[in-house]
């Protein structure tokens, strides 16, 4: 009963632009390899209407002609106008088609869609960013934003876990950010070879190296859901309250605007009510079987 009520509510077309389901033509302007299976693409829209603005944490629907459409988080700098940047891991037919587009080739773009990281709420506070694997991509715009408006935020801490050293995203950037004042960047891998001299262990083991002041910290988390559960547990045990913890949830998004219901997550649609949720909204839904 609840499901149908929400779908009906979502399908209230009043405020929705009529062309929201129509992809805008865009051109791949730059591609780069991040890891053995992950690539970053820059795209520019070619319809003369300029590149849409986005807020950190939002995503686009990217359409590869003849292959399909995918929800992909925007991973670029929100204040760098003129292009949109996406980091994509090649895990299937559609993502493979996307990451193998050459410079100059076309794709379709819809969006940006969804909720964003709480950049306003985090002003004047410490920001703790916890990412796992490809989950660093949707958090990178938040990091760019904080670094561009450094005076608005206090200490920035980034904890990043990856499978192995060769799976780490944005390695050079992370290394460079670690030298910035009031910034702590800690990375760990699940296993490493002999040349890796950094931390080895799950991302939660990095908490022992962080000075966390629960009353003045906002946490932003993105990664595999199981990782986020353990991170939330760790934050709660260190005194952080649910309203200061935000998560980016991934579900099977199809339309991107709450029409189709594929990404329903309890009473919410991940595409429209998320992907960024305050923890309070997700409690009780994250560990629900088959949800």
């Amino acid at each position: 009963m609840m499901e149908s009520a929400n779908i009906a509510e979502a399908a209230t077309f009043g405020e929705i632009p009529p062309d929201i389901m129509v992809p805008r033509p865009a051109r791949v302007s730059q591609t780069g390899k991040e890891t053995h299976d992950t690539f970053t693409l820059s795209v520019e829209t070619g319809d003369g209407n300029g590149v849409p603005q986005f807020a950190p944490g939002q995503f686009s629907m990217l359409y590869v002609p003849g292959v399909g459409e995918l929800p992909i988080s925007i991973s670029g700098d929100p204040e760098e106008h003129g292009r949109l940047v996406y980091t994509v891991r090649s895990v299937g037919k559609a993502t493979h088609a996307l990451v193998t587009r050459d410079t100059g080739e076309s794709i379709g773009v819809r969006g940006p869609f969804g909720t964003s990281w709480p950049m306003m709420e985090a002003r004047g506070k410490d920001v703790l960013i916890v990412a796992g694997g490809i989950g660093l991509a949707p958090l990178r715009p938040a990091i760019y934003h904080i670094l561009r408006h450094r005076g608005d935020y206090r200490r920035l801490t980034v904890l990043y876990g990856a499978r192995s050293p060769r799976d780490q995203l944005y390695r050079k950037q992370l290394a460079a950010w670690a030298y910035l004042p009031d910034t702590q960047i800690l990375t760990t891998v699940d296993y490493g070879g002999l040349s890796w001299r950094g931390y080895v262990g799950v991302v939660t083991t990095l908490f022992r190296y962080v000075r966390l002041l629960p009353d003045r910290t906002v946490a932003m988390i993105c990664g595999p859901e199981i990782m986020m559960r353990y991170v939330v547990h760790e934050l709660s045990s260190r005194g952080m309250a649910a309203p200061d913890i935000y998560l980016s949830m991934e579900r099977n998004m199809k339309c991107g605007v709450g029409f189709c219901g594929h990404c329903q997550l309890g009473p919410y649609f991940a595409c429209k009510d998320g992907p960024v949720f305050p923890l309070g909204k997700m409690q009780g839904w994250m560990d629900k079987h088959e949800l």
């Binding site: 990856a162 490493g192 799950v202 083991t205 990664g223 990782m227």
Partner: protein, 158 residues
């Protein structure tokens, strides 16, 4: 005397001794001594019968396992952590190789002697085993999460 005081001070600050009574700390300080390992020094090897238990005071240690002809780092431990907990159990060979990734300063205890003292003084033994169990539970939990291989495309859906 000064060394003994230093050791006691280091033990008081180490997270492993949280909840220890002063008399337990005194006893522990009588059993341990400080040790330093240079960078890349192998502290112990897989299957070694070495029976030492270490509290890391400074530096980073990698736990490594050799399989299929290559050596993998499966965990790093640093200041405030413990190394070689299996030494406190009887007849346990080392399951991993431990290598100092930089200069490492640690307090070292003979595992067999620790066991003897635990048998003689049950109050001390309970305090030590309680913290050791907490440590083992933490490691077990971390290992289980690692086993999920959650960053792989398949693991992320777990």
């Amino acid at each position: 005397m000064e060394n003994a005081n230093n050791l006691l001070e280091l033990l008081q600050k180490h997270p492993f001794t949280q909840g220890f009574q002063p008399k337990h700390l005194d006893k522990l300080s009588e059993l341990g001594h400080e040790l330093k390992f240079e960078r890349d020094r192998i502290i112990f090897r897989e299957r070694d019968e070495s029976s030492f238990f270490y509290l890391i005071v400074a530096g980073k240690v990698a736990l490594e396992v050799t399989a299929l002809g290559r050596t993998l780092r499966v965990q790093t431990l640093s200041d405030g952590e413990e190394l070689g907990w299996s030494s406190v159990l009887p007849s346990e060979g080392k399951h991993f190789q431990a290598r100092a990734l930089g200069t490492v300063k640690a307090i070292v205890f003979d595992g067999a002697r620790l066991r003897e003292v635990c048998e003689e003084d049950c109050s001390f033994g309970y305090a030590l085993m309680k913290n050791l169990l907490h440590l083992v539970a933490e490691r077990l939990q971390a290992t289980r999460i690692q086993l999920l291989d959650m960053y792989s495309p398949a693991g992320a859906k777990a």
